[in-house]
């Protein structure tokens, strides 16, 4: 460090800064204000997908212990509740879901479709919920005759305004050094459409699911996999 650098470091102590204001209360008020949230929704360039996951506690003990709560992560809402409503009837697929070739599917969505190396090429590729210009929100890769599926969608969603409530069967894991959620048991999944409305008719029973986010894209891997197998698949995205 030469003289000038030393002088500058010394000057730091002489530069006057008023006492810092306490902004915590205002920040919290703004983060919880519902008006701001609606406005943000309107301004979001890409309106994104949320999937609501209502957890089925695995047993009676869990039912007694279950704490009602809601958890949002990367565009996915996880609600844990003691008395989950079971979906009835035959679930509809995602809105306007249709098969597409991989290259075509890639043209239909705004994010890159990436294939997990451990699973190889998918048996089928589906796209769903197009906007008026034909751009789809969700791309799904189907494996093992539909028993294993990987949903991908733009997950840069409005962050949550709810407290974390890790319920039974939900745990935080890591994928590629970042946080991910593992839902280790059967649960109901419903789709939240472009307007933010929950599509009850899409509700269905889902197998174990891993949810993670990479480069702004949210992935949802569902199927008969152990937690570690799912994480391995997630880490193998090309």
């Amino acid at each position: 460090m030469d003289d000038l650098e030393r002088e500058l470091s010394d000057l730091a102590g002489w530069l006057q800064t008023p006492d810092p204001p306490d902004v915590a209360a205002q920040v919290r008020a703004r983060l919880t204000a519902p008006v701001r949230r609606r406005r943000r929704w309107r301004y979001l360039v890409a309106v994104l997908v949320a999937l609501l996951v209502a957890l089925l506690p695995p047993g009676r003990a869990a039912i007694a212990d279950a704490v009602a709560g809601l958890l949002r992560f990367a565009g996915i809402t996880v609600a844990t509740s003691a008395e989950p409503a079971l979906p009835t009837g035959t679930p509809a697929p995602l809105p306007a879901q249709r098969p597409a070739g991989l290259a075509e599917a890639q043209r239909q969505v705004r994010f890159p479709i990436r294939l997990p190396a451990t699973l190889g090429p998918p048996e089928q590729v589906l796209v769903a919920d197009p906007d008026p210009t034909g751009t789809c929100r969700v791309a799904t890769l189907v494996y093992r005759g539909g028993a294993l599926r990987l949903d991908a969608f733009d997950g840069r969603l409005d962050p949550a305004f709810h407290k974390q409530a890790g319920g039974p069967g939900v745990e935080w894991v890591q994928v590629g050094g970042d946080f991910a959620i593992w839902v280790g048991g059967p649960h109901t999944v419903a789709y939240v459409d472009r307007t933010g409305a929950l599509r009850v008719e899409t509700a269905r029973l889902a197998a174990s699911t891993l949810i993670w986010q990479e480069a702004g894209v949210t992935y949802r891997l569902e199927g008969d996999l152990s937690r570690d197998e799912a994480i391995e698949v997630a880490n193998s995205l090309n």
Binding site: L4, L8, T17, P18, P21, V23, R28, R40, R72, F179
Partner: protein
């Protein structure tokens, strides 16, 4: 994850993870922890009386963009980058302000000085004023890097995050800013001398 006892001071990474899951109280702890350095940053980058608005906006945006924080840098430098952006946005929309205000010499803790020491104190004060004048004449980007490295005491790595420049640019810009500062000071001395 939520099982840690509350009396343990949580590090930033842990608080970020909780805040990301929607825990506003965890985020409030981060706000409290980083208010002072965020505010000083905004003031030194020239936000003036708008510094409070700037940091409030930065904290709100920080929360909403938490999913983009990858943990590659410290949360502090990631947050200060948002503060820097907000201050620049302010400059674009209003007339430029200068945040470099020297504290009155009376605030010097060693103020009981006489004789030679008093002369030295006066000279040191004049030198500081000259330095601030020179800093004010530096181009914005040069001044930003000086503020980061010397006034906010950010490491080179943190400055990379804070200014969003490549490491090489941070290095070369720092060297160039120091050289410009030196020549501005020399010229001033010649003029006064």
């Amino acid at each position: 994850m939520s099982s840690s006892p509350p009396e343990v001071a949580l590090d930033d990474e842990e608080l970020v993870a909780r805040a990301r899951a929607g825990d506003l109280e965890a985020y409030e702890l981060l706000v409290a922890r980083h208010t002072a350095s965020a505010y000083r940053t905004a003031v030194l980058l020239g936000a003036g009386p708008d510094a409070e608005d700037v940091i409030q906006e930065a904290f709100v945006k920080g929360y909403r963009n938490l999913s983009r924080y990858r943990g590659e840098s410290s949360f502090r430098s990631w947050l200060l980058a948002i503060v820097g952006n907000e201050t620049r946005n302010l400059h674009r929309s209003r007339s430029r302000r200068d945040g470099l205000v020297l504290r009155a010499a009376a605030a010097d803790p060693a103020s009981e000085v006489t004789g030679d020491t008093a002369v030295e104190t006066v000279l040191a004060g004049e030198r500081r004023e000259a330095l601030v004048r020179a800093l004010r004449r530096l181009p914005v980007r040069d001044r930003e890097v000086i503020v980061c490295r010397f006034f906010l005491d950010l490491s080179e790595e943190e400055t990379v995050t804070m200014l969003g420049w490549p490491r090489g640019t941070v290095k070369s810009r720092t060297a160039r800013a120091l050289a410009k500062l030196r020549s501005l000071l020399d010229r001033e001395e010649v003029r006064r001398g």
